[in-house]
């Protein structure tokens, strides 16, 4: 189920994430990155229910959110987290992975990468069948590339990484009718495709890297829908086909989805007669679990945690989320003509001592404890601990240490003013920094004011941008412009893909490098992570470690929190796990041990 998260970026995810992140808590360090229960605080990765599953059970899922869901059952056209959750029982994701998203055999398809010929061969699982009885074919593997790259479909997922596939850019620009780099070794009705790349990268062995698409779409079922109408069509909203253990039997638009076993599924027999997924408002989510209406709840608000953790009939499970929050400093601008970041802004923040001190002054653990009820931990780096091979446990981030912060500033020559209220720059000028803080949830203002107090303690004068919080869309506009000089630093959060490469976020060319921190050394370190030599996992790990140590020393960004995904599960549920290595058969093995919720 976690697999689905990897596709997610976007407003819904980022906005929701932001509120979760800012509403969250500090437990033991997640730095170790190990997947045992310790790093998850009080949450369990899986619920090992030893009971036997009954026949013909029904699983009721609560989809906790305050708006109706969108319900696009085609990942190429959707960037909504709820939609990916809703798709899960019908089969999403092409490959099975390890817990840290390395692709392994056994999923809906297997992947074979060949360094010498720079190709990927994707071969479908034998007997994979759509829920209308038609076999899944090679054309179905290729069709998602058409949906993504053909502008008529209006997908947001076309990227430069995909352009590494031969002929895809030409197809995208309308210069070619077909994608020359994708071929069918045994015909369109066969069971494999071969993808020709321009060059190989280490990320290719990792699911979610974005160098190829990891989904299949039923070409025979969707080919007659006009591209512009596909996202709104009944084929992807009301009656989508499935290749996984369950198929959608009914959708009440925006409210609920019912699933029944897919009669053409050839894997292990599904244990349930029916699954329902229903939208439940955040305000009543805890009450809904108290009255045992649902077996599992997705996207629970962390504010409900104190109530729900006391419920005897529910097991609190969870996993580390593929996301982190950060403070970024405005050190330059984005040159849109050259498509690169330039670190040229005149600001006291160019001094790494000031940035470091600001990091050490932040009481992230306290904020997490007060507002997040155990569902977030302080971040040590910008690499999410799910990637335990990549996250460097020796990098400690910026734990609260006012003394250290003060001594850093003292050493760097920031003298206190005559009233001992604020500090002056080493040149003797007083300065004030503008904090562009986002609104998002009820706690956002309190958290922002708290940090301003913290920075005051070390003598750094901070005021909010326009004296108030900034809403998400305005923030997005300011950030994407890349040229706004009215803010000095900002807080944000990223949902990240399941390839830990940092290229998209911090490279010289990355438009998402909102702080515009860029140095020749950083470029070298980032390049090393994605260099051909890093196809060797040991080399890549070293490169990741070096990058994190440099970022920690430079305090280019202050990583603040890693959040946890939390799923309360009723004690009658069998087979529940949040691990990333669950694979395609996972939902078939979910069952319930009694007629009604315990």
């Amino acid at each position: 189920m976690k697999k689905s998260t990897k596709y997610i970026t976007g407003l819904a995810a980022a906005a929701a994430l932001f509120s979760v992140v800012l509403a969250g808590c500090g437990n033991k360090g997640a730095q170790s990155g190990s997947q045992d229960s310790a790093s998850l605080g009080a949450l369990k990765l899986a619920y090992n229910n030893k009971d036997k599953a009954i026949k013909d059970g029904t699983l009721n899922i609560a989809m906790v959110q305050d708006t109706p869901f969108q319900g696009v059952f085609a990942s190429e056209l959707s960037n909504d987290l709820t939609d990916s959750y809703l798709q899960a029982p019908t089969g999403t994701g092409l490959f099975n992975t390890t817990n840290s998203f390395k692709i392994v055999d056994g999923g809906a398809a297997n992947l074979k990468l060949d360094k010498a010929s720079k190709t990927a061969t994707i071969t479908l699982r034998k007997g994979l069948t759509w829920s209308d009885g038609k076999p899944v074919t090679a054309k179905d593997l290729e069709f998602p590339y058409e949906i993504t790259a053909n502008p008529a479909y209006q997908s947001q997922r076309y990227t430069d990484s995909l352009a590494n596939i031969k002929g895809l850019a030409d197809y995208h620009n309308g210069k070619a009718k077909t994608i020359s780099g994708i071929t069918y070794p045994d015909g369109e009705n066969g069971n494999s495709i071969k993808i020709q790349f321009d060059h190989m990268t280490p990320g290719m062995w990792q699911s979610g890297s974005g160098y190829y698409i990891e989904s299949i779409e039923p070409y025979h079922y969707l080919k007659d829908v006009k591209p512009a109408d596909l996202a709104a069509s009944k084929q992807v909203r009301q009656e989508p086909l499935a290749f996984g253990p369950y198929k959608v039997s009914k959708v009440v638009a925006g409210q609920s989805v019912t699933y029944v076993p897919n009669p053409y599924w050839k894997g292990p027999t599904p244990k349930l007669k029916q699954i329902t997924s229903t939208v439940v408002s955040t305000a009543t989510a805890a009450e809904a679990l108290k009255s045992k209406k649902y077996d599992v709840a997705f996207q629970m608000p962390s504010t409900a945690y104190p109530t729900v953790k006391g419920l005897k009939n529910y097991v609190q499970t969870g996993d580390q989320s593929l996301s982190f929050s950060y403070i970024a400093f405005n050190l330059g601008h984005y040159d849109t003509k050259k498509s690169e970041n330039v670190q040229d802004r005149k600001t006291p923040l160019q001094d790494k001592a000031l940035r470091q001190a600001m990091g050490y002054a932040m009481n992230v653990d306290q904020v997490n404890k007060k507002f997040n009820n155990g569902l977030a931990t302080r971040a040590n780096s910008t690499i999410v601990p799910v990637f335990k091979e990549a996250n460097d446990p020796s990098v400690k981030g910026y734990p609260l240490d006012i003394k250290k912060a003060n001594s850093i500033l003292d050493k760097a020559g920031y003298k206190w003013d005559s009233k001992h209220e604020y500090r002056k720059t080493p040149e003797g000028k007083s300065f004030k920094l503008v904090y562009l803080a986002r609104s998002g949830n009820a706690n956002a203002e309190a958290v922002a004011q708290n940090y301003i107090q913290q920075w005051k303690q070390i003598g750094v004068d901070v005021a909010l941008y326009h004296d108030r919080l900034t809403d998400f869309n305005s923030w997005g506009q300011i950030m994407q412009g890349g040229n706004n000089n009215d803010w000095d630093f900002t807080g944000g959060a990223w949902s990240v893909s399941s390839d830990p490469s940092q290229m998209d976020l911090y490279s010289k060319g990355a438009p998402y490098n909102f702080g515009h921190f860029t140095t020749p050394k950083l470029t070298k370190l980032l390049d090393a992570i994605d260099a051909p030599a890093a196809i060797d996992p040991k080399v890549r790990q070293k490169a990741f470690y070096a990058y994190q140590q440099y970022m920690q020393d430079q305090a280019a960004v202050i990583p603040t929190s890693f959040s946890l995904d939390w799923f309360p599960v009723n004690k009658r549920v069998i087979g529940w796990s949040n691990a990333n290595d669950n694979g395609l058969n996972y939902w078939a093995n979910i069952g319930v041990s009694s007629e009604s919720t315990k």
């Binding site: 109706p68 947001q156 076309y158 949902s495």
Partner: protein, 319 residues
Amino acid sequence: MWKTIIRRVLIMIPQIVILSVLVFVLAKLMPGDPFSGTIGPNTDPKQIEALKRAAGLFDPWYVQYWHWIVNLFHGNLGQSYTLKQPVTTVLGNRIGNTVWLSLLSLIVSYAVAIPLGMTSGRHDGSRRDRGIAIFNYFTFGLPTFVVFLLGLYFFGYQLNWFPTSGTVSINASGFFAEASSRLYHMLLPGALAGILGTTSTIQYLRSEIIDAKSQDYVRTARSKGVPTSKVYSRHIFRNSLLPIAAFAGFQITGLIGGSVVIEQVFSYPGMGQLFITAITSRDYSVVTAIVLFTGILALFGSLLSDIILSLVDPRIRIE
């Protein structure tokens, strides 16, 4: 009167044009755009820009406005950027839910308020009147959010009498089963909203009745020997309805406006929530469609109010 009505309708045309310009320009003035929220390491800014260009967001506002108006006359309200559906489909999905729910709560509201208002006006100062006053304090003073949550908690989760979310049960199939399931889902939110909406109607009715009691025409009727109950039901009631009738036209607008609070608590997909999410996600096409729609309805609502008023009170004539 017909002449007047036609004249009023004609005046509405420039009003609607001005409204549409305002709506459009104000929507565009909001910071950000429908795509500024979709940023992330997996979305290419170049692709976002291409999509923006395709959606015409880089054109000057009057060009965009012109496209919008031309489409409007073809019955095309555009495409929702975030929901990826035609706006007409989006509105169609929601408007029914909201209208039925509002209608139910309106009926409940009048069914409760009119008898209560009559009673408290007729017997002012009595125990009954004081009881009704206390009821009024509660319906007026309690935050709606709290009432809905408590109502859902007791009747939905504790007593299990009513469904707790959505507009229809997922297992309902067939016309009759679906219709009754929809009604069942509306009952609790509709009744609660209706009861909370009674305050002003009760108060208006009460004070009008108390006023009317001392009027000459009432004294005349009584001295003629008209039975008391008839005096109230025939003479006083009709006159006391005036201020309520004056509002009736505007209630029509309220019918499609929806309530964000109720929709949120009961996970009931309606117009109120759609409007708020459309604003926060800068879904221009949905925002402009809703504002234009409610604006036009408000214009018609005020006309309707005047017409109703003239029907109820023969002294008032639209000239």
